[in-house]
């Protein structure tokens, strides 16, 4: 049973001390995420979604608690091993795309492959293939400034999947996109989950993003309020749609 779990978070807390005041961004989150699932983390602004993401992505350290990926605790890793985990195991997708502005689409994807130890020529070949998978095979030499928001996010997805990671972490991947483009990006993430057996974890406060999810986790005020699987969520969305229309 436990080998189905890719990410295990145990009693994660995060405090920010700002002068005399202490902000409790996370108040003890324990969560298991199973391999191959699409998990959406929902919650109002300021509830701690990004903080939790940064911690399970190994970008930030918790004040207390442990994160383990494949049973391997982050706190036991050296910084070089952590860089290896970020490179090979995790693909990050950001709200503001975070492409390197001086690199073409191809170079943006290839650099991730180079960090994984590929020779530059092979890295470019893999990058072109990955960009083809997200439907940007004809935009290889464009700079980010020459691409639309949706296309930039596709490049970011190509970059996230090029090293065949175990999980994709996407913090509000549709936050800077219009509704239609956002839905396309979500569908693409869902497709990557199925095609490559990648675990996808996204944060959002947008109910419309839930349709692709296997599991939805509600966070409020730094704690998990509720978890639900797909079927329960479907019913709820139905009733919410009923209210709105």
């Amino acid at each position: 049973m436990s080998d189905g779990i890719i990410i295990r978070a145990e009693g994660i807390t995060k405090r920010y001390v700002m002068g005399a005041e202490t902000v409790h961004a996370l108040r003890g989150i324990s969560l298991d995420i199973r391999r191959g699932q699409y998990v959406s983390i929902m919650g109002p602004s300021g509830s701690g979604k990004s903080t939790f993401f940064n911690i399970i992505g190994g970008l930030d350290k918790p004040s207390d608690g442990e994160v383990a990926m494949d049973g391997c605790r982050y706190s036991a890793l050296s910084s070089s091993q952590m860089a290896w985990v970020r490179c090979h195991k995790i693909g990050y997708i950001f709200q503001s795309f975070n492409l390197i502005p001086t690199m073409t689409a191809l170079e943006n994807v290839a650099i991730a492959r180079i960090f994984a130890g590929r020779a530059p020529a092979d890295a470019r070949k893999d990058a072109a293939e990955s960009l083809g998978q997200v439907g940007l095979g004809n935009r290889l030499t464009h700079l980010p400034s020459e691409l639309s928001g949706g296309q930039q996010q596709r490049v970011a997805i190509a970059r996230a999947i090029v090293n065949k990671p175990a999980i994709i972490l996407a913090d509000e991947p549709t936050g800077n996109l219009d509704l239609h483009t956002g839905e396309e990006i979500i569908a693409l993430l869902g497709h990557m989950k199925d095609a490559m057996r990648i675990t996808v974890i996204t944060a959002t406060h947008d109910m419309k993003m839930l349709s692709a999810s296997d599991v939805v986790v509600w966070i409020a005020d730094g704690a998990v309020k509720r978890m639900a699987n797909r079927d329960e969520v479907k019913i709820e969305i139905g009733s919410i749609d009923g209210h709105v229309t």
Binding site: C72, R73, L77, Q81, A83, N98, I111, F115, D171
Partner: protein
Amino acid sequence: MAELAVAERQEIPCQVSVPWNVVFSVSWSSLRRRFFRSLITMLGVILAIAFLTYMMVQDSVVDALLEARIEALNLLLQKSGVDVLAVQGTDTMMILLISLALLTCLVGIVNAMFMSVSERIKEIGTLKCLGAEDSFIVKTYFVESSLQGVLGTTLGILIGLVVSVALCVGSYGGYVFQYFPYGAVLRAIAIALAIGSIISVLASIGPAYWASKKQPVDAMRVEE
């Protein structure tokens, strides 16, 4: 769970380091595609080295013309303020001026590079998310800023050379070419190149190291 953690930890390898030719091409494309920004960074080096080259070349040419001991030329030299009878030697005032120019240049590069790093915190954080280690960031910023320094130095030497030869020809006419001190001018160029490169490389160390300490969380926190 604890036993499992130990077993898995040993399986996680260390990140491989990126070869220098990749570092070089990343730095180069960053320099090229941010050309105007880089030019502004380079301006301090260009001006300081142009000034240094100008002073040294001027000095060599005047020395060479004095050596020639030609009556008409000595008159021209006197007219442009050269003390024909004075013992030759380097002026302390000039050394002071040059040192000041070089110091300004050093501070200029350091300042411009720190600015350029703080503009790119998000980029550095993103690269770290992709698996970059500190050493990669240090290397790329170091190479970029050193390249900038060497390019700026070369431009500065060209400008300084052209300006000083033009001014000398303006004052002393064809004599300049007749008695042109090729050896001394070449030496001046070599000195300017060495000083410019050493200063830019020295000035790059601090900002490159600072850049490498930026954390990947910063990639998310910085607003557009």
